[in-house]
């Protein structure tokens, strides 16, 4: 078990896939050279992480699979720009976060267009077995009410278990700002949960 400061998130859950920076650089270099096996290794390591992050970030189930694939296409296209200065996981989280925001924007536009054109919304897809928990549905709903910046920090720290210095890098803000966002996100989430769970 990992020991850590007071703000260490849950320990009984998946922690981000970590590897030494040299191992990260090695796998990226091999992918750049066209080694399909390395690309497969990278996919196997990070696909569940990306999928989980997108789920927690509020990408709806019907868009999640496509969004996950788009993230990997983007990762592949950007491999040449990975310089090994950040961890590979940090870099991939950053791409995933950008995509999740873009997907949310697209969804908003789509919703707006549907309203304007008075189109029938598509029927909801069959529930995913992993989504059966009512708790998860409520949590997703509460998290979706946070601002995007607070949501990102909360999801990365509390669900993904990313250390705060990495969270700050992914969010593109100083560490203290990340702490502050986390503090407010936690407070808002607790307040919403108190109203909801009586």
């Amino acid at each position: 078990m990992r020991e850590g400061p007071v703000n260490t998130p849950a320990l009984l859950r998946a922690v981000p896939v970590t590897a030494s920076p040299s191992a990260d650089m090695e796998i990226v270099t091999r992918c750049r050279r066209g080694d399909t096996q390395s690309w497969r290794t990278l996919y196997d390591r990070f696909a569940p992480v990306v999928y989980r992050f997108l789920s927690a970030f509020g990408v709806p189930m019907e868009d999640r699979e496509d969004a996950c694939q788009e993230v990997f296409v983007a990762v592949y296209r950007s491999l040449g720009r990975f310089r090994g200065e950040a961890r590979l996981s940090t870099w991939i989280y950053r791409i995933a976060a950008r995509h999740a925001s873009r997907t949310a924007r697209r969804r908003r536009v789509r919703g707006l267009l549907s309203t304007l054109l008075v189109r029938e919304p598509p029927p909801p897809p069959a529930p995913d077995p992993s989504e059966r928990s009512e708790r998860l549905q409520v949590l997703d709903e509460l998290i979706s009410k946070l601002s995007p910046k607070k949501k990102l920090v909360l999801v990365l720290f509390e669900i993904e278990g990313v250390p705060i210095e990495e969270v700050a890098k992914i969010a593109g803000c100083p560490e203290n700002t990340a702490w502050s966002r986390l503090h407010y996100a936690r407070a808002e989430l607790t307040a919403m949960a108190r109203k909801r769970v009586r």
């Binding site: 260490t8 497969r40 989980r52 996950c68 949590l139 769970v197």
Partner: protein, 485 residues
């Protein structure tokens, strides 16, 4: 145990308790196996060196131009030779390719690749190849239904839908062996089917039954043929008569090369080909199929998947699997679904969804009440896939099927496999209980212990009442035996 420092550790606040549990649930959430594999199918295309810096564009442009000039030259050169042979006055154009020494690689209509071995003669008759002499290996891309590819040799026809195989003619003797897919050998005169060959099987004329011989394994690497030996598709239809000279010793090894190095064959064992752009376009079609499914337009989704399945590459492979899924889950056609998955297995014997297809077939057969067929498939799966992650699931199904037949001994053996595999907890629980119940039913002394062990391991398990009843029954039986003694 929960060591989350936030929300507060007190259980008295239901909101804190709720958040703790929900955040833990969220941290454990993940895609299922099929989603992951489908994702891989969409992004698996050959990794190309990604764009890096501006100068790389310039270098890439120069390299591309040079490559185009080279490829153009190589493409035009053999075509010019062939044209000369065709139009040369007073020189009949024999519809025949003859290789004296070395090998010749041709691309025929429909993308069929033919690798002519040393001293072989192949003639094109009515658009179909006829092997006169020697050995020719073929790689046939998937063909639409009712349009099989036919190769003739002596009085035999080899009928193919999409596969890799070889035909050899030595005097009056004809031999066929298969690397991938399935081929049928028929007598040309009456179209009677003489043999149906699966990968690894071979047939020789004059033999009654199908012989299993060592066909070359499909995955061992071999150096590709030099580009100059490969004719362009335009030059292919066989009006070429130029003998090709080369190393006779290399001929056999190179003859196998065709079967081993299909262009674009990459990770995952599927028939990957094409570019990343094609994959992304195909994936657009996959997304359209998924949208049609979630919109309730099952027929449209099925059509898209069927059309995609005719192509090649991971997306086609995925679509071939999805056809069965749609038929089974959305159209309530279990027989059609099983046929579609069996077709998938034929086309992609080592495909990345192979285990999924096997499992889907078994589960569908069980639901359709075809217990015997399901057991056959399940046993086959357990025999062939000792390391599969789905092994426990299938062994449990096999155990249940044997138990339903009253064959407790085989059921116990199957449940034993479950307990020996790495497996999900709920499957282990089922196997533990049913194994114990079977032992009790057989009157095995270990039965009572096994039931107690189940109750200890799963005090609030789903079979606890049945297990408790078994313990009571066992105790009564033991009393009865003691009194009788």
């Amino acid at each position: 145990m929960n060591r989350r420092s936030w929300p507060g550790t007190s259980d008295s606040d239901p909101a804190d308790e709720f958040l703790r549990r929900a955040l833990d649930d969220a941290a454990l959430r993940g895609p299922d196996d099929v989603t992951l594999r489908r994702g891989w199918a969409a992004v698996a295309e050959p990794v190309k060196t990604p764009r890096t810096r501006t100068w790389a564009w310039f270098a890439g442009g120069v390299a591309t131009t040079a490559a185009l000039v080279l490829i153009g030259g190589l493409w035009v050169w053999p075509r010019a030779v062939a044209t000369f042979a065709l139009v040369s006055p007073g020189r009949p154009a024999p519809a025949q390719v003859e290789v004296a020494l070395g090998t010749r690689r041709l691309t025929l209509e429909g993308g069929v690749e033919a690798q002519l071995g040393s001293s072989s003669v192949m003639r094109i008759e009515d658009g179909a190849p006829r092997i006169e002499k020697g050995e020719v290996r073929f790689s046939v891309p998937h063909r639409p239904p009712r349009h099989p590819f036919i190769v003739r040799a002596d009085d035999y026809s080899v009928v193919v839908v999409g596969t890799k195989f070889g035909v050899a003619v030595d005097g009056r003797a004809v031999g066929v062996d298969v690397n991938e897919g399935v081929v049928e050998v028929r007598r040309t005169s009456d179209q009677r089917r003489l043999a149906r060959l699966s990968p690894g099987e071979a047939w020789r004329s004059g033999e009654v039954s199908v012989e299993t011989s060592a066909a070359p394994p499909p995955a061992s690497p071999a150096p590709p043929l030099p580009i100059s030996a490969v004719s362009s598709p335009a030059a292919a239809p066989a009006r070429l008569a130029a003998p090709i000279h080369g190393h006779a010793r290399a001929a056999r090894a190179a003859a196998r090369t065709l079967a081993l190095t299909t262009p674009g064959e990459g990770a995952g064992g599927g028939r990957a080909s094409g570019t990343a752009a094609t994959t992304i376009a195909n994936d657009g079609a996959s997304a359209a199929a998924r949208a049609a499914l979630s919109g309730g337009d099952t027929m449209k989704a099925l059509q898209i998947y069927r059309a995609l399945a005719l192509k090649t590459g991971p997306v086609a492979e995925n679509a071939a699997y999805e056809v069965g899924k749609v038929l089974n889950e959305k159209m309530d056609q279990p027989e059609g679904a099983v046929a579609a998955w069996r077709r998938y297995r034929l086309d992609y014997p080592d495909g990345i969804l192979r285990a999924e297809a096997d499992v889907s077939i078994i589960e569908t057969l069980v639901r359709a009440g075809s217990a015997d067929e399901a057991l056959g498939e399940a046993n086959d799966f357990l025999r062939r896939r000792p390391d599969s992650e789905r092994r426990a699931e299938i062994a449990r199904l096999a155990g249940d099927l044997y138990r339903a037949r009253g064959d407790c001994r085989r059921a116990i053996a199957a449940y034993q496999i479950v307990l020996g595999a790495s497996r999900p907890r709920d499957i282990v629980e089922v196997a533990n209980f049913h194994r114990a119940a079977c032992l009790v039913r057989l009157g095995d002394a270990a039965g009572a212990d096994a039931v107690r062990a189940y109750l200890r391991a799963y005090p609030s398990g789903r079979f606890r009442s049945e297990a408790a009843a078994l313990v009571v029954d066992g105790a009564h039986a033991a009393d009865g035996r003691a009194r009788a003694q």
